[in-house]
Symmetry: C2
Subunit: 382 residues, 2 copies
């Protein structure tokens, strides 16, 4: 027998650019990025797709984008700008993936050209997936429009769609070439969408950064009052923590560890059982509260610390219980844990709190204790 | 404005293991690989898929595989072994991708479990693609059964399926975790399949290794006579050159260069125009001959050197012309070049020969000269 050994490393790098009024004629961020990216000896193309929900509130976008590219001749804008639904529907129905792929084909977007998606996390997930699989990867630019996508999912390296009733069953690890976080989009968010993303900031603070957690406590009311400067600071800090976590760990998750998924196993199940009426961020808030109580029951954090977490979540405006956690639905909890294990593969691995600002992975869950955590959680609704 | 910079490297490594009788009870190669791969604290699963064309000639495979895994309890074999068509049909009709994805779901193959594909290049392309997108990537093992897949495509990092009439429009760069090249599969190949893969060896020799080209000249008759020892040597050397090229260059093809695609632009078009009746390797033989003559017309190689290439290809048994290259089909050549450019993106880049054993990239093609090359090529059929 003989063997050939193959080994190599693939380098990835991209910037997350925080900006305002991305398509105003005097904002050159995007044009500068496009003209300097990669090989410059030929004209590249760019295709835009916009989340319907964003477009409804920013209907000037199509004209702005066309004007923005009219002033130059380095980049060719595809004739059509696609408007597709956002939220879970765009990941559930494969017609939207097909439409995106056909547009990439029709407008001749090749591996050196760009697909830019403007929208919430689910929308970016679908377009990112299409961009990764077309021609084995065209260049993908993310322009996230919600708090959640600006501080977490949009700055990460994953994409995905649902298949056969399973969330994110299809997807890849595939970094974008750039992320543009435009704070203008935040001003028109509904209160629910404004609030939803804050739970991911609380999550990452709890498992990684006590000081940030304390900052969030101090600024909870300001965030609840929709103070954009405070929200922007939160987004920047949270995005930086998420970004740093990815590059310092296992970016394409080849091992079992998923410390960023604190609070997420229950969240996934609650989202599903509510038929996605509960937003991801809202479900994560419940999941954080549940796993914090469970951490307390295991003796890692104190009663007082648990209360600080619950109070912060409530101050921001989250409701920390959902009927799908009801006692007679025992199966839901077990199923949730099992589905989570299956998606990650290998051993069950969930993250709890070792202390405020530090996560800890465990591989076994005591069901009776978790049921007790659910009961305690229910007491938080008043 | 502020910026967060993200950068990381993702390491990949895998072995290409040359073996015989992979599933015989005293061959522990595969079991050893599976039991030692990654984390070992939980039982992993493996799902097999077999190319129908291979199964017809090796119908013992299902029993052999079941016996092979019966003797141990470290790895759990999925109850069902799927038999699906091979060749271009498996890439053209998305029902086969769907069947593969549903099987991955049904048998609970997660990110730490394995999908093993036994078959020719097209079959491995489809299963590799399914494995890469399911759960954002389950572990994929390739067991190539043709000369072409053992010496070239099967040892590479690409996968893909066709979409909307475009070859490989959907796909990813995604290395397998292991490749097992079992020479037993070669013995039952049809003469056409036996021969087809030799063109990729001639290609890689011509652009990278004069000594290997001379070895191929010396052993052309032995390969034509189906001498398995000589063929195995050719496969090993060719696989090593392809492997080395990938790791020393740009594995995921982020730039424009594609030096391994010598002879391939015309090949893709001929395959398509013949409705895939011409096999990939047969079309590549024509493409090599055409681009060699073009290299000669540009003054890079001599008439005598060009003849050596033509004679080698003919000695192995290739027919070096196809009616789709006819003069009145001018458009075909142009379209072929343009589609090739579009798939790679950016500037047109094709590889010609600077000398025997060294490729050279060019970005412009003189159409009249290429037409002349086609005319000369036609004279090679006698």
């Amino acid at each position: 027998m003989s063997v050939i050994h193959q080994a190599f490393q693939v380098p990835y790098s991209f910037n997350i650019i925080f900006t305002k009024s991305l398509f105003s004629s005097n904002n050159k961020e995007l044009l500068n990025f496009l003209s300097n990216f990669g090989e410059t000896s030929f004209q590249k193309k760019i295709l835009f797709l916009i989340d319907e929900g964003v477009y409804e509130k920013h209907s000037y976008l199509i004209d702005s984008i066309k004007n923005y590219f009219r002033s130059q001749n380095q980049i060719s804008l595809a004739e059509e700008i696609l408007i597709l639904p956002g939220g879970e529907p765009v990941k559930n129905d494969s017609q939207y993936l097909d439409k995106t792929l056909h547009a990439i084909n029709k407008f001749g977007i090749d591996r050196h050209s760009f697909v830019a998606a403007i929208g919430g996390g689910a929308f970016l997930d679908m377009v990112g997936y299409a961009s990764c699989i077309a021609h084995r990867g065209v260049k993908h630019i993310r322009i996230p429009t919600t708090v959640l996508s600006q501080n977490d999912s949009g700055v990460g390296v994953k994409n995905g769609i649902n298949f056969s009733g399973k969330k994110n069953f299809l997807g890849t690890f595939s970094p974008p070439v750039a992320v543009f976080n435009d704070s203008d989009f935040l001003t028109t968010l509904s209160d629910r969408d404004w609030r939803s993303g804050i739970s991911e900031a609380i999550k990452v603070a709890l498992i990684k950064d006590l000081e940030f957690f304390e900052w969030l406590e101090e600024n909870a009311q300001a965030m609840a009052n929709r103070e954009i400067e405070i929200m922007s600071k939160q987004i920047f800090r949270s995005a930086a923590l998420h970004t740093n976590h990815i590059s310092s760990g296992d970016p394409f998750e080849m091992g079992s560890a998923r410390p960023l998924d604190f609070g997420h196993w229950a969240a996934h199940k609650i989202e599903y059982l509510s038929n996605f009426e509960i937003r991801h961020g809202e479900a994560v808030a419940i999941g954080i509260a549940l796993d914090s109580i469970y951490s307390q029951l295991l003796g890692f954090i104190t009663d007082q610390e648990t209360n600080r977490i619950i109070q912060l979540l409530k101050k921001v405006g989250f409701i920390l219980y959902h009927e799908s956690l009801e006692e007679n639905d025992k199966m839901n909890l077990w199923e949730g844990l099992n589905e989570f294990r299956e998606h990650l593969g290998g051993r069950l691995t969930i993250t709890i709190l070792e202390k405020l600002g530090k996560g800890k992975e465990i591989h076994e869950v005591d069901f009776d204790l978790m049921k007790l955590a659910v009961d305690r959680l229910k007491l938080t609704i008043d």
